[in-house]
Symmetry: D2
Subunit: 275 residues, 4 copies
């Protein structure tokens, strides 16, 4: 199977990168399944139904969120109607958090793709439940190569250690473990020893002449002065589509190839060559 | 000028990566100046004089540290005798921290290279002084293209936002701003709009079949159980040399090229092609 | 019923305060049940079996721990043999953490006292599971006035907000919600609107001419310099026994009175007057 | 001299507590100087000029702030005109933060009182400069018993360790070191060995049937669910005036007495007896 995951879409330049490039890439790379992290799509903060609709139209099969899930409150009701939108799985059970954190998608040809989003706990503003324990529950409920033909885990968190640990923890049980949240792509794409493709962070879709997608002047001033400044707003230069491409073996669901995908804006372009 | 910076060396596999590859790379790439972040060189925790000596012999011109600077207490006296070893600049002045955080190196041909290490404050275990204010002091004291022919800033911290903000803050005043500490290389190498080369994190030199260079089992168990486990120890598979290569214009000190350098171990190899 | 809870015992002066005063107080106040938080009893770090034995001999019925539970590794096996020793309840289930986080004690006269320890998640070094959800489970399993005649919740955490929220959350379902961990007694003892006695932090048993029970010079130097210093060690002046006294109504298990208990050392003495 | 300090005023019930009780207490206790921490006076978030005026009219001589200093942006300009309003001293110098962090007040009888506000760095949302180094600068600039007849340090921070360390650090150089920010009064009032009066936290002026002065329902829901809820708003029950009273020796400026002051609302009342 051919999968792509695109990292946190930040504001208008990030949305434009998705809308401009994903339809074409989907064809060129014969993608079977596309995930987009949309937690910062609405002006840097959360997701609206209208924006989600645009992403689905552009070829996204699944949208994930993160710590900014509910910045736009409408997402709390929208997610209840839209099974293709996922939030972190590991909310406390008693929270009855809206929506779901895992879903099995059935492709037109009958193949099934599982997607799970987990949120880490190190340095994160919400304190969700243990992501490793929840990974177990989710992965056990959709065994790779049996219940699902491919399985993507979006590990949303700050610390590289927590992401790498999750990668190894799911190794052999997922097709891809990919991190999100830091808004910078990492260059450590690899297939782990038991066959899971891994990247610490997919990076953001947005303007890289910025501070994590937001206007750099505001951010610099806050760091330098520790005073409140203007509201954060997305930087408006050309966005880069930024994500990862993975091929899996349909017999096992494990990965056979992982490559970066970057297109447009300030980062050097990479598009996998495929037949 | 041709500069290279190699990220946090973790334990024996990281040291081997430096000792095995840097002498040869130094020749092949005609490197004028090499910086190695050595804060995790001694079993993952700090630096000893003996290890530092090995790095200097292998072709390092300057070693930097970070939040693990003093894990080996001998570094606190060694650094007083060794001007080529730098710790974060922005300790409180009253701390009289041992050693220095900035230094101007004079090359055999008379050219001068400034190096500054700063430690960020977001999510870091020490609370050093404002890194942006200290960046100003340091950069003003060694104006690029005048007092120094090249200037390297090692921004040691966790948050990608703090690193990107520092990159832009120094843009036009440094040849290179490169992050360290997260132990994962980022794929956002670029030349910022005023001519400073930038990478959010250079990555570590160490075994990438690990959790940030340390054995993965211990780390996974701690995350999954929140119980103390065995002591952290470096993973012992083949290490990857991981860093960045920068060319500067000798008239301005600004960057004309930035490329990743990765050799050995689990990451895909990249070595810049040079004449 | 007459209950007492004494906060984090720090090192030798803290232990001496418990051993010197608790036997006498137990008689003078006709205490039915005594809880001691022992997470810092062994040189400031954790608890040994020998020290626990001393506390039980001096009149403690139950010992609780906290984030320092396993600083002395022997506690991990000792706790399996000793049901009177409790650690935070809310470890991830999959952790199979040693020991228990809640227990019902049967008094010689047949009355039953439930004790629960929870650890908060704000600013804490471990990331345990949601304490509120676990509070529900625990309180539901031992309904006050039915399964137990009194119920004590030790809320071990840093943030005053998290403790106050837990107090109100348990209000009417516990006899006492008392905080630990900050090592400073608070002066907000009150009976909440539904009958639960509450104090944000019981304070420590230890030398108050210190920094949270530890030698002040080391601590000041670390704060002022951000450099590592000498190992932390308990301050060795006379310790203060520091805790809280609660009377409950045996028909409901709710509190009718809450008073501070402080004896010895640097804090002004308070001992409740009882008939 | 007779000094009083009242902790973080939260919303309307906190303001009412100040306005209702301070004028009378000022007379009854013959107070020479009154400080009020006003960082949460405006609906829990910051301070307006109008509210500040009310506090000055009610008998406050000096207002201090904290991490919420600029929640109401008008405070950034108001503080420039009002030398009796102080913000944390230890902003980075380059920040040119509005207002001042230390001031010497001259009483009608010519005696001088210095006030300094510092903000700690542990667990705080801004990362200000080293508070200990800034304490030195401030205390050296107004030597007690020489430049000033009394000196009050407001240490605004979360961690009890950081506050206690600051108390000892200033011991003998200040009349009073008192903490703020946690909104719960501590019961550790003492005179340190070199004559400085000390309390870890003065507590808040506000409704204690709350979570740190704010409505408890919202807060509990957020802790229990980790979902965003309604906006935080002050609890509206009767507020408690909460603070500390200190007597100093006019020859040395050191403390001779320290007592709690609590009046109204849910906490047990304490008013010092004076001649
Ligand atoms: Fe995020
Ligand atoms: Fe994001
Ligand atoms: Fe580091
Ligand atoms: Fe490191
Ligand atoms: Fe603790
Ligand atoms: Fe403790
Ligand atoms: Fe505050
Ligand atoms: Fe406050």
């Amino acid at each position: 199977m051919r999968l792509a995951y695109f990292g946190d879409v930040v504001g208008k330049p990030g949305r434009a990168a998705v809308l401009d490039h994903v339809p074409d890439l989907r064809r060129r790379l014969s993608l079977d399944f596309v995930v987009v992290n949309a937690e910062n799509a609405a002006g840097g903060f959360g997701l609206t139904e209208a924006i989600a609709g645009d992403f689905f139209n552009a070829g996204a099969d699944c949208l994930t969120l993160g710590d900014h899930a509910w910045d736009q409150r409408e997402a709390m009701t929208y997610i209840e109607r839209e099974p293709r939108l996922l939030r972190p799985l590991n909310y406390p059970q008693a929270a009855n958090a809206p929506g779901k954190g895992a879903h099995v998608f059935v492709l037109p040809d009958g193949r099934r793709v599982g997607v799970v989003q987990l949120q880490g706990t190190v340095f994160m503003k919400q304190q969700l439940e243990n992501a490793f324990q929840h990974a177990d529950l989710a992965l056990d409920s959709m065994p790779l190569g049996m219940a699902v033909d491919a399985l993507i885990v979006d590990m949303h968190c700050e610390a590289t250690s927590e992401k790498m640990a999750m990668g190894h923890y799911c190794d052999g049980r997922a097709s891809l473990v990919v991190g999100s949240h830091t808004h910078v792509p990492t260059a450590d794409l690899m297939i782990l020893e038991n066959g899971t493709a891994y990247q610490t962070d997919a990076g953001m879709c947005g303007d890289y002449d910025s501070v994590i997608g937001m206007k750099k002047e505001n951010s610099i001033t806050r760091f330098a002065t520790q005073l409140p400044g203007e509201r954060y707003a997305p930087a408006l230069g050309e966005g880069t589509l930024c994500g990862v491409y993975v091929e899996t073996d349909d017999r096992t669901g494990l990965a056979t190839r992982i490559e970066p995908v970057r297109l447009g804006g300030r980062l050097s372009a990479c598009v996998p060559e495929v037949d």
